[in-house]
């Protein structure tokens, strides 16, 4: 068993070396596929994070209070709404706290906010509801009070956002599956050329009683190695490109637009797993498919 594995690995390197051009061609193709995949993956992950954070922001109902509203009246509204069964959580956010939070969010760029002549933000009550559908009742209730200036809530927006991201995710998955299938075809064709170049040797192997798995072994290992090399190149390249994108565009700009960016470290961590798994399975499937015809008998 161990002997066969060592034999397979040794042969795989010899074979891959003999067909250097073809091996390189496969590595290039799979790397290209994986890079396209990683673009989709990065977009999807970032979109998810953006949607999640948007959902968190918009799932709350913000009841803006008139500056004239007294503390007494504010407490009355707060108690009344807090008593509603639909409400999970409610808290008072003063205009000063809100500005401080805004500044904190902007980080290094917070100095831009210093030029504001006065705090433009209103005092607010921030209400969280368990279900988005319950928001309507809360809004209705809050509208009854005279101290309320405005009510911000985004039920429709959030619902639309969720719908759009769902369909985008399905589209991304379809494209990814397509790319994986194409990669398998590319690898299997490459390995088929290697197999055909060695069909003479394979027929002798069969005549002297080598088992199919023993014959397949080196080709399988060759496919897996090609997959692994491609995965490594793709991870390094996409991490590099992504970090350049963040550096050039600047994390601040995304922050200001309210879109958080997924950090490079998180991305690399995930891509390593996904690409290694994909690379290995693409390589293995490709080689098994290419061998099928040669191992009929």
């Amino acid at each position: 068993m161990l002997n066969s594995i060592i034999y397979s690995i040794k042969q795989a390197f010899i074979q891959g070396g003999r067909n250097r051009a073809m091996s390189l061609a496969s590595i290039f193709s799979i790397t290209a596929m994986l890079l396209i995949l990683s673009v989709f993956f990065i977009l999807m992950v970032n979109m998810n994070v953006a949607v999640e954070s948007a959902k968190q922001d918009y799932e709350t109902i913000q009841i803006y209070l008139l500056d004239e509203t007294t503390q007494e009246e504010t407490e009355k509204i707060l108690d009344a709404i807090a008593a509603m069964p639909e409400v999970d959580d409610i808290y008072y956010l003063s205009k000063d706290d809100a500005l401080a939070q805004w500044k904190a969010d902007w980080g290094d760029s917070a100095y831009l906010l210093d030029s504001l002549p006065a705090n433009p933000l209103p005092n607010a009550l921030v209400v969280s509801v368990g279900e988005l559908a319950d928001a309507d009742a809360v809004v209705e209730q809050a509208q009854q009070y005279s101290g309320v200036e405005d009510i911000m809530y985004y039920r429709e927006t959030v619902e639309k956002l969720v719908k759009v991201t769902n369909s985008l995710q399905i589209a991304a998955i379809v494209i990814m599956v397509f790319l994986v299938v194409v990669s398998i075809v590319v690898v299997s064709n490459t390995i088929k050329l290697t197999v055909m170049a060695r069909s003479h040797e394979i027929s002798i192997m069969k005549y002297v009683g080598a088992t199919n798995w023993f014959i397949r072994g080196p080709f399988l290992v060759e496919g897996i190695i090609i997959g692994l090399i491609s995965a490594a190149i793709s991870v390094v390249l996409s991490a590099f490109i992504y970090s350049r994108v963040i550096a050039v565009v600047g994390q601040d700009i995304f922050l200001m637009m309210g879109i958080p960016m997924v950090p490079v470290s998180f991305l690399v961590f995930n891509l390593v797993f996904i690409f290694v798994a994909l690379g290995v399975s693409i390589g293995a499937c490709g080689s098994i498919i290419s061998m099928r015809r040669f191992l009929d008998t």
Binding site: N3, S203, Y207, A210
Partner: protein
């Protein structure tokens, strides 16, 4: 031991079914030396392919070393092939491997240890008489020497049956005889030999069992000469120049 019972094999073609073998029953005992003769397309190759289980019989029973192989699972085919060595007219050596490596290859394929390989390969090379060529490549050898390497490869795993598919077809007369003497020597060690050939003079001089196949049927099975005079004139004509004359044409 090889036993065919009512074996039929037909090939599908555009013109319908072509006969490969038709209701063939034959028994080859352990240690036999059998010549398989007959015109091209008579069914000799079908016979060999059936023994190696490269193709499936349509009906009938085939036993090799007591094992019924007609319904043998794919998993057991390698085991069958390890008990049957095969030699071809065109040698089929691996050109990028040395003589030693070509023979060692057959042992590697069946997971033999390095030590066993180092011990057995020189033994078998000396048996076939090419010890001094161990580190040469096939294209540095004569045809006869290449066939010896092929024979060494076929017998290194000690098969009980050695199948030789026109092993002398590409060799001159003298070399052909050397190969025949080698095969006879291997036969004397107990290995069953089934040899397909067109070589009249070899069959006649060896005086072994001759199985003649024509149009898929066994037409003769006895000890002696290549032909008993009953063949069609067409075949007679084919053999007139002797084997080498035939190939010269």
């Amino acid at each position: 031991m090889i036993e065919f019972k009512n074996v039929t094999k037909r090939y599908r073609s555009s013109k319908g079914l072509n006969v490969g073998l038709e209701d063939v029953s034959i028994k080859i005992n352990k240690g036999d030396f059998v010549f398989l003769v007959g015109p091209s397309g008579a069914g000799k190759s079908t016979f060999i392919k059936l023994i190696m289980k490269e193709i499936e019989a349509d009906s009938g029973s085939i036993k090799v070393n007591g094992m019924e192989i007609t319904n043998l699972s794919n998993r057991l085919i390698p085991k069958l092939r390890r008990s049957t060595g095969i030699v071809f007219q065109d040698f089929r050596l691996l050109p990028k491997k040395t003589v030693f490596e070509n023979v060692a290859f057959a042992m590697e394929m069946v997971h033999m240890s390095r030590r066993a390989i180092r011990r057995q390969v020189p033994q078998v090379l000396s048996l076939v008489g090419i010890s001094d060529k161990a580190h040469k490549y096939p294209d540095e050898l004569s045809g006869g020497e290449q066939q010896r390497v092929a024979i060494a490869r076929a017998i290194v795993n000690s098969p009980t049956v050695l199948i030789a598919d026109e092993p002398t077809g590409n060799l001159d007369q003298e070399t052909a005889w050397e190969i025949m003497r080698l095969l006879e020597q291997i036969n004397l060690r107990g290995t069953t030999i089934v040899m397909v050939t067109h070589a009249h003079d070899i069959v006649d001089k060896m005086g072994k069992r001759v199985v003649a196949i024509d149009k898929g049927r066994v037409v003769r099975d006895d000890v002696g000469m290549y032909s008993d005079g009953s063949e069609t004139p067409e075949h007679q004509g084919m053999y007139q120049g002797g084997v080498f004359g035939y190939y010269a044409k």
